[in-house]
């Protein structure tokens, strides 16, 4: 019963973070701020959902045994690591490409242009 509540907490946090990320993508004014919402909230939401899955798998393994639950948990862990790294790197690539495509950020200060013409 305790693990059930733990799973529910992880899933709820993850889904709330994903929802806020989607709202941020719709609401923020330009590409860079949208990337903030997408990267941080999306990655954190998916990590929390993966942790919920791992908690479920561990509880099943403890009550039931059987290596297939261990395999499921291990692969979920691999998926979590892959998601965390690829999301951050993809966001970096997109922001660099957006700057190279000539989209200027809205904002108070912009220190990048002095190196761009090389």
């Amino acid at each position: 019963m305790d693990t059930g509540i733990l799973i529910l907490i992880f899933l709820t946090i993850g889904l709330v973070a994903c929802t806020l990320g989607a709202v941020g993508i719709l609401r923020f004014p330009d590409v860079y701020t949208r990337l903030h919402a997408e990267t941080k909230l999306g990655t954190f939401g998916s990590i929390c959902i993966c942790l919920g899955v791992i908690a479920y798998v561990l509880s099943e393994y403890l009550t039931d045994g059987g290596t297939r639950y261990l395999v499921l948990g291990l692969h979920t862990l691999m998926a979590m690591i892959a998601l965390a790294f690829t999301n951050a790197l993809g966001a970096h690539a997109i922001s660099r490409a957006a700057y190279r495509a000539g989209i200027k950020p809205e904002g108070v200060v912009d220190r990048l242009p002095e190196v761009e013409q090389k």
Partner: protein
Amino acid sequence: MIDPWLPALVVLLTLILVVMFRLLWGPTVPDRVVALDAINTFTVCAILILGVAYHETVLVDVAIVYALLSFVGTLYLAKVVGREI
């Protein structure tokens, strides 16, 4: 206790529909790439949840491969948008 996996799946699919507005409207091309990246992340989560709900380890492997391939796709789109190819 109610099975939490299928409601979570419904929420994720709704989020994918919401983000798809940005994919369709996005004023610039990088906006659409950001929306596509978010949709990829949510899809990986949805596949993971499906794998747990149906007790299929194969679906989790599909999720790993989808995450890595979508990363390659995002990098390629970024190269195209940044005019480096």
